[in-house]
Structures are given as structure tokens and as C-alpha cells.
Symmetry: C2
Subunit: 189 residues, 2 copies
DNA sequence: GTCTATAATTCGATAGAC
DNA sequence: GTCTATCGAATTATAGAC
């Protein structure tokens, strides 16, 4: 374990915090370096550019549960609990979300993350390809909407909820998106 | 109707478009002025500062329907149709949402808009004050999540949905947040 | 009312000493 | 590896000519 590795790790931690708190433009390399207590030029030396620094700092795995190993009627419940727990105080997610609101390359990264991790999960339980993509997209509207209102906009009533209450409210919604009838054929899940 | 009024209106239109497309930092006064085909100094003359320009450009009414005039079991449906229709191609909303992701004063504005327009709507159909605030907050997670994924992140499956399909999917979710049982007392709506 | 010129900052990135 | 110094570019905002 070299000294440089520890320095790089410290930079990444500070970068996540600054990007998550301030977004891309306001999170300056100078501010990130100051928080990591190193020289700003070291950031450039190790990561090449600000954009590459963000790419390194905002890379992560959702580590979604395998729904095929679970009873279908508890999919929403399991997924809600998992995501709420996994996202609580997660600078990496908030950093990516905040930056993606203004930087195209970060939004593209978010789309890639969605296509690579959320869509495949749903594809394994929904045979129709187009329907699977739709269900995954709807899941994203609710989950990213939660992250946005709770961690970025910080709407008071959303912040006030406990993770247990959140999971309880979200569970039937995710279940609806995963198993609900597709509009056109009318019925209820 | 003075020339100056037309100029101000043109600036506001251009500002909404630039803020909605680029966020706060990248939407420069120069770029906004160029799009409105006027001199950058005129923007300062009329609005004083960039922050005041955003405040003027991102002010709007949600014009939510009065749910007390509607049968309770169609609340979700009416609200879903209304919001989906009202938000389609709405630069003002997207501008505020995008800027709120990085600028504290815009996030505060979003919280004010929520507290002033969404919360009161729910308060009229939910007697318990705390529960009403929670329901309103949950509504916001889904509706702002839709705006985020469809208009800002542009997740392909979410963009691909028609407004009718969207309303059909969202309707039971909004109904759940408006009328569903509060976690703790278990039952279904 | 409109525009030019520029002040005052700030930032990402680079060059090079040690 | 680490730091100083600085370049070049871009920004908001202002002062003032016409």
C-alpha cells in the first residue's frame, strides 16, 4: 500500500462529498483538494482532469438483489427495503445525481448505470422485452424521485420519514411497477 | 405595452430555455442574451442579477385541481392526468428542477412551492396534519422523480411512454399516497 | 435605451523548481 | 512526489459613452 494510494483514496472521498453537496461547477478542484488536505495540483496529477475525477468518484454498483430467488408477491417489499437501506447517506449516489442534473456526460453515465444494472434485473422476471424496459424505467422514476426529494431538495416531510416508514410506503408502488398490468389491458394487480 | 416589456418577456423565455437545458452555471447571461437577441447588459439592467433573473423565470403556479370536488376513488386518476399534461414541455418546471439540484436558493424555492401549493391541496382531504404532510411529500417523490427521469436524465424507457400510458401507470400510485393506510396500521387501500 | 469597455474574480490546467 | 507560480479563459457586474 503506497502513500499515493492513500492520497488518491482521500481525494475520492473528498470529491464525493463536494460533488454531492455542491454539484459540478461549484465543487472546484481547489475546494476538493483543500478538504482532502493536499495540493490542488495533485488532483490533476492523479486524475488528469475534473471530468475524469468525477467519473472515478461517481462509479458504483447498485448491488441489487436477485428477484428470481424470491416469492413474486414480496418483490416490492424486498426491493424497497434494500434500496432505502443502501441509499441512506450515500455520497456517491447523491454526487452522481446532482452532477447529472447539469452535466451531459454524467446524465449519460446515469443512463448507462440504469441500462446495465436496473433493466437486466427486471428483464429476468418480465419476459416481454419492451414491457421489462418500461417497468425498469418506472422503478427509476420512483427511486430517483425519492433520492432527489430526500437527499437533494430535502423536502421536510420526506426527510422526516424513517427508513422503515419509507420502505412501507414504497413497497406497494415498486410491486405495482414490477407486476402491475400494462395499460391497455384493464385489470388490477 | 412598451418595448421594454416585450424585451423583458423575451429575456424570460430565453432564460427558461437556457436554465432548463444547461442548469445554473452553464446558462450564462451572455448565452441567454444571445438567444433573446439582445445585449447582455440589458439583462442586468432589467433583472439586476443572475439570481434575480432565475427567480423571475422560475416562478409559476402548479394550478392543481380541487380534489374536494371529485370522488375520492378517482383522486389519483385526476391528479395523474392533470400533472402529466401540465408538465409536458414545461421549461419553467425543468429550469427550476435543474437549478435546484445545485443552487440552495432554488432548492429553497422548490420547498416553498411544495409547502405553498402541494401540501395545502392534500391538507384539504386529510384531516391529520402530520399525515397530510407525509402524503404530500410522497406525492412529490413520485412526481418530481417522473420529471427528473423524463425531462432531465431522459431515461429512454421513460421518455418513450405516451402521456396516456404515464397517467395510467401513475394513477394508482398517487391514489396510494393520497388514501393508502399509514404504515403501522396494516391493511390495504 | 443600447452598447462598448473593462473591472474584479475565479477556475482548470500547465510548467517547472526542488 | 510535492509545491509555487502562473497562464489563459470565462464569468458576473459596473461605469460610462452615445
Amino acid at each position: 500500500m503506497k502513500r499515493s494510494d492513500r492520497t488518491k483514496a482521500a481525494i475520492l472521498v473528498a470529491a464525493r462529498e463536494r460533488f454531492a453537496a455542491d454539484g459540478y461547477a461549484k465543487a472546484t478542484i481547489r475546494a476538493i483538494a483543500a478538504q482532502a488536505d493536499i495540493d490542488p495540483s495533485m488532483v490533476m496529477r492523479y486524475f488528469g482532469s475534473k471530468e475524469k475525477l468525477l467519473a472515478a468518484a461517481a462509479s458504483f454498483e447498485l448491488e441489487l438483489p436477485d428477484l428470481t430467488a424470491i416469492r413474486p408477491d414480496s418483490w416490492g417489499d424486498v426491493l424497497a427495503r434494500h434500496l432505502v437501506a443502501r441509499w441512506e447517506r450515500n455520497d456517491t449516489l447523491v454526487a452522481l445525481l446532482r452532477v447529472a442534473a447539469t452535466q451531459d456526460f454524467a446524465a449519460e453515465r446515469m443512463r448507462t448505470l440504469f441500462a446495465g444494472q436496473v433493466a437486466p434485473l427486471v428483464a429476468r422476471i418480465e419476459p416481454d422485452e419492451k414491457t421489462a424496459a418500461t417497468r425498469a424505467g418506472l422503478l427509476a422514476t420512483q427511486m430517483l424521485g425519492l433520492a432527489l426529494t430526500r437527499y437533494v431538495l430535502e423536502l421536510p416531510p420526506v426527510v422526516a420519514l424513517t427508513t422503515d416508514e419509507l420502505a412501507a410506503w414504497l413497497s406497494p408502488v415498486l410491486q405495482h411497477y414490477l407486476t402491475g398490468m400494462v395499460p391497455g389491458s384493464d385489470s388490477k394487480e
